[in-house]
């Protein structure tokens, strides 16, 4: 009985893999660095790209610009205690307005943005958008919802502020005491 059940599971997995294989073959998952390092190789290909939505959605009539960062900070900003991991890195994506509405949190100092996965066609120099390097998305999914980020003041900084304020008052007093009209 158990062996038969295992057989069913394996068969189902095999069928699922077979069905998914063509989709996987279409949707390669290059990083933003891969795309910029070899734009010609990726030009015109359908890719899957995942990154943190940054800034805002800029609506332009029947299309919306999103900017997705696939750097280390997409999984944890410095304010959240994430380590310094180099520059930001990401890509510009054009999506239809109804898709863009799914993205509700955008990354900035006080937020980690939604982690968004798009599938679309990469253009090394898009003829519709003035030669910009972009991805025209045909599918969008929010993988992980963004959230607020707090950045509390460290006690050590308050001490440093008190000490520098004291020094500033001291030197300002000394300056005023020695001041003569030139």
């Amino acid at each position: 009985m158990r062996a038969r059940a295992l057989g069913y599971v394996l068969a189902a997995a095999l069928v699922a893999l077979t069905c998914a294989a063509p989709g996987l073959a279409h949707a390669a998952t290059p990083s933003s660095a891969d795309l910029v390092e070899d734009p010609t190789a990726w030009d015109g290909q359908t890719i899957e790209f995942t990154g943190e939505a940054i800034g805002e959605a800029m609506s332009r009539g029947d299309e919306v610009w999103l900017h997705l960062n696939d750097d280390a900070y997409a999984r944890g900003t410095i304010e959240e205690g994430g380590p310094l991991s180099g520059y930001n890195s990401g890509h510009a994506v054009v999506v239809p307005p109804q898709m863009a509405e799914r993205v509700t949190v955008f990354g900035d100092h006080k937020h980690r943005g939604d982690l968004v996965r798009v599938t679309g066609v990469f253009s090394a120099a898009c003829s519709e958008h003035g030669g910009d390097m972009d991805i025209h998305a045909s599918a969008l999914a929010v993988v992980e919802r963004g959230h607020d980020v707090t950045d509390p003041v460290a006690t050590g900084k308050l001490w440093a502020l008190a000490i520098t304020t004291g020094l500033a008052l001291l030197t300002a007093g000394a300056y005023l005491a020695r001041r003569r009209p030139y």
Partner: protein, 500 residues
Amino acid sequence: MFRPTLDDHKVIGVYTGKVVLGVGMLMLVPLVTALVFAEWDTAVDFGIGLMACLAVGFGLQAICHTERELRRAQGLVVVSASWILATLLGAIPFILSGHIGGMVDAVFDVMSGLTTTGLYLIQDLDHVSNGLNMWRFVLTFAGGQGIVVIALTFLFKGVGGGIYQLYAGEGKEDRLMPNVVHTARAIWLVSLVWLAVGTGALTVTALALGQEPVRAVLHGLWTFMGAFSTGGFAPQSFNTVWYHSVVFEVLCIIIFVAGSLNFAVHWAVWTGDRAELKRNIETRSFALTMALFVLVAAIGLARAGVYPDAVAFVRKVFYVVASAHTTTGFATIYSRATVTQWGPLAMIGLIGAMVIGASSASTAGGIKGFRVGVITKAFVQDIRRMVSPDSAVVISRYHHIKDRVLNDATVRSALAISVAFLTMHALVTMVGVYCGYPVVEAAFEGISAGSNTGLSCGLLAPSTPDGLKALYTLAMWLGRLEFMAVFALIGWGWSAVRGR
């Protein structure tokens, strides 16, 4: 060589202290920004930075108290010393923010801002606070005017020769008015009018492009500051790729070309002499070299066959070459795309544009159009002499605010500074190659730093060796102050040790 007296040192200390107070005043802008946006941690960072500036500024003036006037020789030393202290104190909020890899990186970013270069090492820029971002743009806007110009405007009363050296030491030799303090205020008047109009235009455009009102205002202001100061800092890591708009790009071009013009030309136009724009040797030189480098980059890109149509081709080429030539550093392509899409020939076109730069007495860097124009005229004059009879007197003239006769002293000075720039670019490139980078990339990045441009081909990163970062920092400083103020500081130090 005379050893400076204690009073000489005191005069330098007093005036340097005044400039440091000016830097402290600048920190009020990001401090208020941080408070408005309830960024308490950032506000404390700027509070510490402000208090440090006040302590050093007042401390220097108290310790070095003297009633002696500033002399010419001391003016240049004050400029250099002020830049060093402003850079170190300006780095405090960067370090406290946690977004920077260390002191070398923090100093790099402040120097890049003050010199209107625009290269940066700050990490996770897209999550920095509005307060810290404001500081980046205040640095670059103030650096474009000259931090000493700011101090001259608000904190100085004198009009003596030493005060002129303070002004000239930041690479601004043209006086708009007989009184240097009035000249400094005129520079501010021109800049603030541009600030109001430019920020307004960019903000309205950003709103139309789909930005929220508060972000549109901030992006409008910051992009203006980055453009007019020919600085090249941008609010987001995407630089001006962010906006995907030809209108926004045209506005940026107008603003950074305006910022790259000599303030004397601005003043001439301001006072009704519009013909100055067409007659000035610098604007003519700029137009010619711009056409040349657009052509070189266009040939390179046409060979690479990157862009799908003529409109995209012209839009990209003109924007990036104009950005390079005005030493702004804004880009509508990703940094690495300079290498992977544009290729070596187009990069050489950009390098040429960066080397020459824009106008003297502007916010721009590079050798400057004035020097290129003067050297070209001298070259043509020599050819004319060769083909003229021995008895002929060959005179060459040029127009810069007024008609002038080209003389040997002007040519010698132009050549000396040009050779200094080219030598620096060669050395910085060689060090880049020594560090293992390809020669074109090493030249591109090094010249971008030395000419205070800020375009990057992706060589510079937080992981770049500290020695190379420090060298770029020095190159930015030397390039902005055009060597003389830095050499004056070295000479001052040498005479203090070895003078009689």
